[in-house]
């Protein structure tokens, strides 16, 4: 078919009635730009919430919390802890080792600390971990983490029941409806399962287990061992 015959088939009046390809391209480009702008705005808001800015996390402000990570994201040393909220040694680690790490290495920008909540001690470990991740969605992981360990009392004795876990969220001023929706629907359960699988892959057989730039440290061992390993990495 020649160009001339094409033009005959589509007279000017018909051509004017439909948008040109150029106009369609402009429309597609505009829709794309608007979509990306929307994604950037929503993504930034979500990231700001997750990064934990707010009055409840004021104590953590100097530690630059981002989700479950404390410290400078580009710090040369990365410490990852696999921990169960029902595990008594994990509570000891939180009260002693993490407290010292914050002071000596995290605040100074030499290390960043990432918390991986595993659920190996039973159903209440799972619910506590899920609740903590729901709190993370609102940028309150670390205060919630602290409250869980402060509340800890034995394993699967009903301490971490649904009512208590929701009350802890209320105490911290979280958006209760949002927290309840996340918690009741088990929205973060798959994430806890993924962390459990990751722990298995990395050979974690007990909690707490730490990895300092990949070097495995098992148990709430004396802080001096952490110091030795970290100082040896200089």
């Amino acid at each position: 078919m020649s160009r001339a015959s094409t033009r005959q088939k589509h007279p000017a009046s018909v051509r004017r009635a439909e948008p040109s390809v150029r106009q369609l391209v402009v429309a597609v480009v505009l829709v794309s730009i608007l979509s990306v702008t929307f994604m950037i705005v929503v993504g930034r808001r979500s990231a700001t919430r997750t990064s934990g800015r707010g009055p409840v996390t004021a104590a953590y402000e100097s530690l630059r919390p981002v989700g479950r990570t404390l410290g400078d994201l580009s710090a040369p040393i990365t410490i990852v802890e696999y921990s169960d909220f029902q595990c008594p040694y994990c509570k000891i680690a939180a009260d002693t080792i993490l407290a010292s790490l914050k002071k000596d290495y995290i605040k100074t920008g030499r290390a960043r600390f990432h918390y991986q909540p595993v659920a190996i001690l039973g159903p209440e470990s799972l619910r506590a971990a899920e609740a903590a991740l729901c709190a993370e969605d609102q940028g309150r992981f670390w205060p919630y983490h602290d409250r869980l360990f402060a509340t800890q009392a034995g394993e699967n004795r009903g301490v971490f029941n649904d009512v208590t876990l929701k009350r802890l969220a209320a105490d911290l001023g979280l958006d209760q409806a949002r927290f309840d929706s996340c918690f009741d629907r088990g929205q973060r359960r798959q994430d806890v399962m993924a962390i459990n699988r990751e722990a298995n892959t990395r050979g974690v057989t007990g909690t707490p287990t730490f990895f300092i730039n990949g070097v495995k440290v098992v148990g709430a061992v004396p802080y001096v061992q952490f110091r030795q390993i970290i100082e040896g990495m200089k």
Binding site: R15, E18, R22, V29, V36, M39, I40, D137, Q187, I195
Partner: protein
């Protein structure tokens, strides 16, 4: 053919990142960056959906459109080309934003993410090239062709 190769490569990259996300493992960074830092950042997901999953969806969509365009002509091919343009343009712009975040906010770079951004940019250039050839092939009435004319052009296969 190049678009097919690029979209397959991109699907592989996004698939690898998604596979790691599903398993909860850190992508191999081969000493070129800090994939663990980028993966742990809150920017690694959008509305609860890992960005890697969005990448898989985008590349799969582009791959499907490229294959579809090879098998079809006319208005359907034009619509597919415009849809492809929308996807790759949005993906390129969003990838550019993510690269900016890596460099200046997260201060860590994941080479897989940079590779994906470059692949999307390449796909954008090729898609715009295809479209330019369609638009340029029809200066019939002193302007750009109407969709009907573009369909005719595609039916005649006198465009790439």
């Amino acid at each position: 053919m190049l678009q097919l190769l690029l979209s397959l490569t991109g699907l592989g990259v996004a698939g690898y990142l998604s596979w790691n996300r599903l398993r909860g493992t850190v992508p191999v960074c081969v000493g070129l960056g800090r994939c663990d830092v980028v993966q742990a950042s809150p920017y690694a997901q959008f509305a609860g959906i890992p960005i890697a999953y969005l990448g898989v969806a985008a590349y799969a969509g582009v791959l499907a459109l490229v294959l579809y365009r090879r098998r079809t002509t006319g208005g359907a091919a034009l619509r597919a080309l415009l849809t492809q343009l929308g996807i790759v343009l949005a993906a390129t712009l969003y990838s550019a934003w993510l690269t900016y975040l890596e460099l200046y906010v997260i201060r860590a770079v994941c080479p897989w993410c940079v590779a994906s951004a470059l692949i999307f940019a390449g796909l954008l250039v090729l898609t715009v090239g295809d479209l330019a050839r369609v638009v340029g092939s029809y200066p019939a009435h002193g302007g750009s062709p109407s969709p009907t004319e573009a369909k005719d052009a595609m039916l005649r296969r006198d465009w790439p």
